[in-house]
């Protein structure tokens, strides 16, 4: 077969879009003809280059420019872009950098001042120190308990004394009050009581009205 005819079919042969008979014809020719075979190889390389050819990406600002010039509406931003716009970009400003530096410095100084206290607190957490603290606490608690017990006993004694005194006072007062009463009772026992007089009087009246049988 003629090489020029093969060249005409070469592209379709590489795409396997030729009829089966023609595919066989071209394949057999390529086996026999080195120049056509080399050309087919180069065409394969060209196709491979075309498929690997890089594609340009459109810059988002360029898309925005087109949209503003057509519909007048700005580009819809993705969540990531909005996140960058509102959070990441402000964080990357010089103002934020200065603020962050000052805050870091302040934090470092604060930590530096706090470290001795923290280390002291940490050393107090050793087992020996804990036992000592516990012992001191128990002793203090026991002492407080004793004090409270003594105070309670004292209060109790004071109360009992007060109670006895009060009771004695009351009894003496009552005795003093009972004294004249008993004296009057004794004097009344010699004389007829006054309150019986009307009875006697009434009985007298009755005696007068009703003659004894």
């Amino acid at each position: 077969m003629d090489c020029s005819k093969i060249e005409q079919w070469l592209s379709e042969y590489l795409e396997s879009s030729l009829p089966a008979e023609d595919m066989d014809l071209v394949a057999s020719h390529l086996k026999a003809c080195s120049s056509c075979s080399a050309l087919a190889d180069e065409m394969r390389s060209v196709l491979s280059l075309c498929h690997q050819y890089p594609a340009l990406e459109m810059d988002p600002d360029f898309v925005e420019k087109i949209l503003l010039r057509t519909s007048g509406r700005p580009r819809t931003r993705s969540f990531r872009e909005r996140l960058q716009q509102y959070f990441v970009r402000p964080l990357l400003t010089p103002r934020f950098a200065v603020g962050a530096s000052i805050a870091t410095l302040f934090l470092a100084l604060t930590v530096n001042l706090m470290v001795p206290r923290i280390s002291g607190a940490v050393s107090a957490l050793s087992p020996q120190e804990l036992l000592r603290l516990l012992d001191r606490g128990v002793n203090q608690l026991y002492g407080e308990g004793l004090k409270a017990y003594e105070a309670k006993n004292e209060w109790q004694a004071q109360f009992s004394r007060f109670k006895n005194n009060t009771w004695n006072n009351l009894r003496s007062i009552m005795e003093q009050m009972d004294g004249p009463v008993q004296g009057r009772r004794k004097s009344n026992e010699s004389e007829p009581p006054k309150e019986n007089a009307p009875k006697e009087k009434s009985s007298g009246v009755l005696a007068e009205r009703i003659p004894p049988a």
Partner: protein, 192 residues
């Protein structure tokens, strides 16, 4: 896809700006890359992309879903403006510098290997210069098919030529690039 784009166009015509933004996001990058393939300059490609999208926005009312896909319609608008631009400039685009290649966002998830990046940059430079050496018709066919991945049917509809013609142009373009690559390899072999 077709119905989705048509719905977006309808929403645009009813004043929904978010629908227009979705269309720009869908087709902007493609138009930008197409413009870059033709102009080979980023600044010109940006200007062209902007002009194309403004023209599309202004002429959305003229789109008829019955007459074809929105993709082909928008690419036709783009192609017409790119051809107008080419006629105005009246020159073959200059090959872009390596600086522009470095700024390209290479879509590769693998870890950046310096040797691989260098090879890719070299291959891209070769392809760019090779494309500039092709005639506009062949270049257009290669760009749409091999760089943009368009189907033959869509290309025939877009360029308004039979599918056989499209295939022929693509084959010729690929052959020229293959021969160019072959010559380059032989030159490098002689130098080495």
């Amino acid at each position: 896809m077709l119905s989705g784009d048509t719905k977006l166009v309808e929403r645009c015509l009813h004043g929904d700006d978010s629908a227009w933004e979705m269309l720009v996001n869908s087709y902007g990058k493609r138009i930008y890359n197409l413009s870059y393939r033709y102009t080979n300059r980023k600044d010109e490609a940006e200007d062209l992309t902007q002009d194309i999208l403004i023209r599309v926005y202004q002429n959305l009312k003229s789109y008829r879903a019955e007459s074809g896909s929105f993709q082909n319609w928008i690419l036709r608008v783009a192609r017409n403006l790119i051809i107008d631009h080419y006629r105005q400039v009246r020159r073959f685009p200059q090959a872009g510098g390596s600086e522009e290649l470095e700024t390209m966002n290479i879509q590769d998830d693998r870890a950046p290997n310096p040797q691989r990046v260098a090879e890719q940059a070299e291959a891209s430079l070769f392809l760019q210069s090779g494309l500039q050496s092709l005639s506009p018709e062949l270049k257009e066919a290669i760009v749409l098919r091999d760089l943009e991945g368009m189907a033959y049917g869509d290309m025939a509809e877009l360029l308004n030529v039979p599918e056989g013609t499209i295939k022929s142009r693509i084959n010729r373009g690929r052959l020229e690039l293959a021969k160019l690559l072959m010559r380059r390899r032989s030159q490098l072999g002689m130098q080495g």
